[in-house]
């Protein structure tokens, strides 16, 4: 059964140096607050896994938390490059970043295999691309009935998966509504999981387009309103497109990035203080 914890306590308990961690959320519900808390707690040598390592992983990479990244698309959606990711890959700053590169379909298949307790998943993927040459975790497999050649990828089973959701009840049952992305699979595939939520309620009412994760598949639930900012939580907030655009300038330069992290992440005690500092009001 999930414990209701502060985000600080949940990260302290669940995320260890050297862990493989997945923060998921496909544009919607990206668990930014959890990423910040990992930076505050100075985790090191993390293997970061995420389909779209956007701003949240740019911050973790630039802060020196990660030594490996498994991903399929690393950009600032609608804006451009991830400057800290590029600096790590191109120049090894703050230190070299090993990469394991997949496609979206491959990553989704890997999480689904992980959630299903299978060691691998099968897809029509990667064929004719340059990826299999550089990524060991892409192999051919033959259909035992038709002889057709397909592609196999190994399951992803992170040590910890972290997602953000609209709400949980006080027993720790979690409800995710709207674009549900790959979050269910990420949580079910992981050994431990943290879910930050916009609100804690007495009882979850069924809503359309929602996924419920029962408390017994979640390790920790943390009440963190606005925990996805500048991503959004349908029903609670809109995407802060301006912040995504601003990130381009903040992250362009090592000094301005570091100053921003020092002031806004290390300089704040928790996510509420952070939001207050950057001037974001939570509904």
């Amino acid at each position: 059964m999930a414990e209701i914890l502060s985000l600080r306590d949940a990260v302290a308990a669940c995320v260890h140096d050297g862990d493989t961690i997945a923060l998921e959320g496909f544009t919607h519900l990206i668990p930014h607050a959890a990423g910040h808390e990992i930076i505050r707690q100075h985790r090191r040598n993390l293997h970061l896994v995420r389909m779209t390592p956007d701003m949240v992983y740019d911050q973790l990479i630039g802060s020196g938390c990660a030594t490996k990244l498994t991903f399929s698309w690393g950009g600032n959606p609608g804006v451009g490059s991830l400057q800290r990711f590029r600096d790590a890959v191109e120049n090894g700053w703050p230190h070299p970043l090993e990469i394991e590169e997949h496609s979206h379909a491959g990553m989704a298949t890997r999480y689904a295999a992980g959630a299903a307790g299978l060691p691998f998943g099968v897809l029509r993927g990667y064929v004719g691309t340059g990826l299999p040459e550089y990524t060991d975790t892409i192999k051919g497999i033959e259909c035992p009935f038709t002889g057709e050649r397909l592609t196999a990828v190994p399951a992803l089973n992170p040590d910890v998966s972290i997602v953000h959701a609209q709400r949980a009840d006080r027993d720790g049952n979690v409800q995710i509504a709207g674009l549900v992305g790959v979050q269910k699979e990420a949580v079910l595939a992981a050994k431990r999981s943290i879910v930050t939520v916009e609100e804690l309620v007495d009882h979850l009412e069924p809503v359309p387009n929602s996924v419920v994760l029962p408390t017994w598949v979640v390790t920790a639930v943390c009440h963190v309103p606005g925990g996805a900012h500048p991503s959004f939580a349908m029903g609670f907030s809109d995407r802060d497109n301006r912040f995504y655009k601003d990130w381009d300038a903040i992250s362009k330069d090592r000094d301005s990035f570091t100053a921003w992290i020092d002031a806004n992440i290390h300089g704040t005690a928790d996510h509420a203080a952070y939001l207050d500092r950057i001037g974001v009001t939570v509904r």
Partner: protein, 261 residues
């Protein structure tokens, strides 16, 4: 945005002409019973949303974030904008959108773009330079490998330049015709691959024999020499080279309304 061309009363930018031509192709596909588009953000999303307003039957927009049949009023900045979910016929998980919808062959046309396009329609969105020590690390392939493999056909929308339209991509993020005729078939890819490349200068299509991207039409006012200068391979033109129709007032005002919303 680059130069402004004139079109009767209104001036259309080259980007607008590119987007309008892409929308026209989508309209023609929808009319032919091939309405389902797998849409990426940026130019493809703008073109698909424009076509949705211009044509009946309208294209059906599928986004990789899991939205099926989205009808956004304003243009999304990201593929996961709330607007896309709220206006969708169905919202499914990301594993499902790739497995049950794209991979299963339910997508009529996919869009791709990237940093480099080569003469066989292969695309690079991974690295400039070598993979191990890139001079520029790009975002990566994302959904492209499987869109290129499984969508019924692929439309590329890219601004044309010698730097981006290259003889051979530094890295193959998605498969066009690979090394040339027959390569897709040998690999068992099910979709038809890149069928249309819509640029700010004109429209290219693969040559039926060689599979090399060949100019089928120029946009109004564009000279052959501009295309040659902006293409990194010895580009050829079809015999009956056409000129695309200039944007109509309706197309242009609709596009601007879409972008302003």
């Amino acid at each position: 945005m680059s130069d402004i061309t004139t079109n009767g009363d209104l001036a259309a930018t080259t980007d607008e002409i590119m987007i309008i031509n892409a929308a026209r192709q989508l309209g023609a596909l929808a009319a032919a019973g091939k309405p389902v588009c797998f849409v990426g953000i940026g130019l493809p999303s703008t073109a698909a949303n424009l076509a949705r307003r211009l044509y009946d039957p309208a294209p059906v927009l599928v986004y990789e974030s899991g939205c099926i049949g989205s009808k956004p009023q304003r243009l999304p900045l990201s593929i996961g904008d709330g607007e896309l979910a709220e206006t969708a016929d169905a919202v499914v998980s990301v594993p499902e959108i790739f497995a049950y919808w794209l991979q299963a062959g339910r997508i009529d046309v996919g869009f791709l773009g990237g940093a480099q396009l080569d003469k066989y329609g292969n695309i690079n969105s991974t690295v400039i330079g070598s993979y191990e020590s890139p001079t520029t690390r790009l975002p990566g392939a994302g959904g492209a490998p499987e869109i290129a493999a499984s969508a019924g056909a692929v439309m590329v929308i890219m601004r044309q330049s010698k730097r981006s339209f290259v003889e051979r991509c530094d890295f193959r993020s998605s498969m066009g015709f690979g090394d040339g005729p027959g390569h897709r078939e040998r690999l068992g890819l099910r979709g038809a691959g890149v069928r249309w490349v819509i640029t700010d200068l004109g429209v290219m299509e693969p040559h039926p024999d060689t599979c090399v991207l060949t100019v089928r039409a120029l946009h109004p006012g564009v000279e052959r020499a501009q295309v040659v200068d902006a293409t990194g391979w010895a580009v050829e033109f079809v015999d009956d080279l056409a000129v695309t129709d200039p944007p109509t007032l309706h197309e242009l005002t609709t596009l601007r309304a879409v972008q302003a919303a």
